[in-house]
C-alpha cells in the first residue's frame, strides 16, 4: 500500500490545529522553524515509530494444547472437522 504523502504544511497545520493555534500564529511559526532544525525531534519521532513497530511484530503462537483446551471448555471439540 502506498504511504500517504504529507507536506510540511499539513504537519504544521495538524500540530497547530491540535494546539488551537492559527497557522500563522507566532507559536506555529516557531514550531515550524524548530522542526526544520531539530535533530532531537526527528530522532524522537523515528524512535517512537520503531518502538510501535517492535510491539506490533512481537507476537506469540497459540499452542495447539491451548486451542484444544479452549474447544473442550466451550464443548465445541466435536465440531473441529
Amino acid at each position: 500500500m502506498k504511504k500517504e504523502e504529507i507536506s510540511c504544511k499539513e504537519v504544521i497545520h495538524h500540530i497547530c490545529e491540535s494546539l488551537g493555534e492559527d497557522l500563522n500564529s507566532e507559536k506555529c511559526i516557531a514550531i515550524k522553524s524548530h522542526l526544520d532544525e531539530c535533530a532531537n525531534c526527528k530522532n524522537y519521532f523515528q524512535t517512537v515509530e520503531v518502538t510501535i513497530d517492535w510491539y506490533k511484530k512481537y507476537n506469540i503462537e497459540l499452542p495447539d494444547e491451548a486451542h484444544n483446551r479452549l474447544m473442550s471448555l466451550l464443548k465445541l471439540n466435536d465440531q473441529e472437522k
Binding site: N40, N43, Y44, Q46, T47, V48, V50, T51, I52, W54, Y55, K56, K57, Y58, N59, I60, L62, A66, H67, R69, L70, M71, L73, L74, L76, Q79, E80
Partner: protein, 187 residues
C-alpha cells in the same frame, strides 16, 4: 461463507458456526491478552474467559459495530479484571511527569543496536520489561491504538474512555516506552 452469515448461524445455536468464529479469532484474542499481561498462562486464561463470554452473550451482539470491536471490548474488560486482582502491584506513575518524558536525555543511536528483530530474546526482554512498568490502563490504550490500529474513536469506545483521555494516555505511553527502551540500550 461470510462472517455475517456465520454470526447469524452461531446466534441461532449452530455449534459448527460457533466453532468457526472461535477459530477465526482465538489467535487475535490470545495475542492481545498476552500483550497486555505478558504472561502465557494468564493470556490463555483470559482467552478462555473471553470466549465463554462470547458464547454466553453473542445473542446481544447487534451488528452495529464490527465483531472484532465487540470482541476487543470483552477481552479488554477481562484483562482489566485480571490486572485488578493484583491491586498492590506498583506501576510507574506517568500522570504527572510529562516534562521529564521529553527531556533531552542522551539518545542512543538505535540503528547501531545489534538485536533489532523481535525474534531476538534480548529485545523481547527489553520490550516486556518496558511495557510491564506501565499500568494496564495505559498499556491498553497504546496496544489498541498503535499496535492493533484502531482509530482514536474506536479505542475510546472499546476502553470506555473519552477521546481526549485516549490521546493523553497514548502520547504519554508512547513517550514512556520509547524512553525505557532507550535507557535499556544505554546500559
Amino acid at each position: 461463507m461470510d462472517e455475517i452469515k456465520i454470526i447469524e448461524l452461531a446466534k441461532s445455536g449452530d455449534r459448527k458456526a460457533m466453532a468457526s468464529l472461535v477459530k477465526m479469532y482465538e489467535k487475535t484474542v490470545y495475542n492481545f491478552a498476552f500483550k497486555i499481561c505478558r504472561d502465557r498462562d494468564k493470556a490463555e486464561n483470559i482467552m478462555q474467559e473471553t470466549f465463554l463470554s462470547v458464547v454466553k452473550s453473542l445473542h446481544q451482539f447487534d451488528g452495529n459495530s464490527k465483531l472484532s470491536t465487540w470482541l476487543y471490548r470483552i477481552v479488554t474488560n477481562h484483562c482489566l479484571m485480571e490486572a485488578r486482582k493484583f491491586k498492590n502491584r506498583h506501576f510507574v506513575s506517568i500522570d504527572d511527569d510529562e516534562d521529564g518524558m521529553y527531556e533531552n536525555k542522551q539518545v542512543v543511536d538505535w540503528s547501531s543496536v545489534p538485536y533489532k528483530s523481535t525474534e531476538n530474546i534480548e529485545l523481547r526482554k527489553i520490550l516486556d520489561e518496558a511495557i510491564s512498568k506501565l499500568s494496564p490502563e495505559y498499556r491498553m490504550v497504546f496496544l489498541l491504538r498503535d499496535v492493533e490500529e484502531f482509530s482514536t474513536e474506536e479505542t475510546a469506545k472499546i476502553a470506555e474512555l473519552s477521546v481526549p483521555a485516549v490521546k493523553s494516555r497514548l502520547h504519554r505511553a508512547r513517550a514512556f516506552l520509547r524512553n525505557e527502551i532507550n535507557e535499556a540500550f544505554r546500559k
